[in-house]
Symmetry: C2
Subunit: 217 residues, 2 copies
């Protein structure tokens, strides 16, 4: 596929990325990486000093990949609705290519929550300010139901990312092959879009907007 001549450093990095994604940090041994890269154990530490350092680089990259869509899309000057729909499409494409990216990331952040990640501040800014402001404006204009901005992203990407995190169980319970899971995921993406539209943008909310918020608490 790609250029076939890779430096040892690149071979190790790619192999490590693949193994870490599959088995996580604590499930992966230095020898796993050496074997997968076709090199030996010492070379890993020659280039990356330690397993932890190598993991750190890769985790950074993969977290960037995870945030990429969000950051790019929310910088574009299009309507909120377009942004959300594009988020779903792009998120779907990302997970199709990296089926266990989300499970891996959530796991590792759970394992060490204080890991310093470059994109965190940018993500914070998007969620706490940009998106929040945009949502308030749309609500004011009556184009969207009354909803706290914090809940929008989980509602939108949650249901889609969820089926990839549950992929193994899902496939087992519904007797799926890789192919049929692929079809399932694409359909689910479309359902998710429909659901989000019907919930957030359906004119039904305008009725409620005149009365009280229908949420308890």
């Amino acid at each position: 596929m790609n250029c076939k001549i890779l430096s040892s450093e690149e071979k190790i990095r790619e192999a490590a990325k693949s193994v870490f994604l599959r088995k996580g940090f604590s499930g992966t041994t230095a020898r796993d990486i050496a074997e997968a890269s076709g090199t030996n154990i010492a070379l890993t530490n020659y280039y990356f000093r330690s397993k932890e350092k190598l993991f750190g680089e890769i985790f950074q990259d993969l977290f960037s990949l995870y945030c990429e869509n969000t950051i790019r899309i929310f910088e574009r000057p299009v309507s909120l609705k377009e942004k959300l729909m594009e988020m779903i499409e792009e998120d779907y494409r990302l997970m199709k290519e990296n089926p266990n990216l989300v499970l891996f990331i959530m796991n590792e952040i759970h394992r060490s929550p204080d890991y310093p990640l470059a994109e965190l501040s940018k993500m914070r800014d998007i969620f706490r300010h940009k998106l929040s402001e945009e949502v308030r404006k749309e609500i004011r204009l009556g184009r969207i139901r009354d909803i706290s901005a914090d809940h929008i992203m989980p509602l939108i990407i949650g249901s889609l990312q969820f089926i990839f995190m549950c992929k193994s169980l899902q496939m087992s319970v519904l007797d799926m092959t890789e192919a049929s899971f692929g079809e399932f995921a694409e359909k689910h993406k479309d359902y998710t879009k429909e659901m989000v539209i019907s919930f957030l943008f359906s004119p039904a909310h305008e009725v409620e907007a005149t009365g009280k918020n229908s949420l308890p608490g």
Copy 2:
């Protein structure tokens, strides 16, 4: 809280459950369990023969716990709508009490997908037959939008279970405390219920039901 006199076997099992839930199988050492239980390493193997056997028992229990709600609720003779709403409520309660149950289970099933689990066949039956039949009936009666049964559960529980799987990241990005995450989760549960109702049960689908299915593919 509970009765304070536990046998060593119970102390070890409870400690192991707690540590496994937090750090997963490969992140947990026999010495972690010994320390957490206030006993020593040899006693773990005296009662459970091996780390893997101990983990097996606990994983079975926790997977049962995860399936419990679904199995119980889908045996009740109430309407589909009531079942789905109760699913969300019960699922929320379960995750409130075991915040990293889902992440743990998905992880371990991902690590060894062929693990023999007692509830799998029951879950298969529910999803592939009972729920499927019920959904078809509701669609025929025009009480629910036209949707494949396989997608209903992920749509319903996905968005809620998702925020617990992403808890660490969520808390970090939105600068949450445990308390504010709790509030957030409860609100999200309510949003999820609203969204599901508006998507599945809103009378809007009756318009579409006369025409073609709006889903591409």
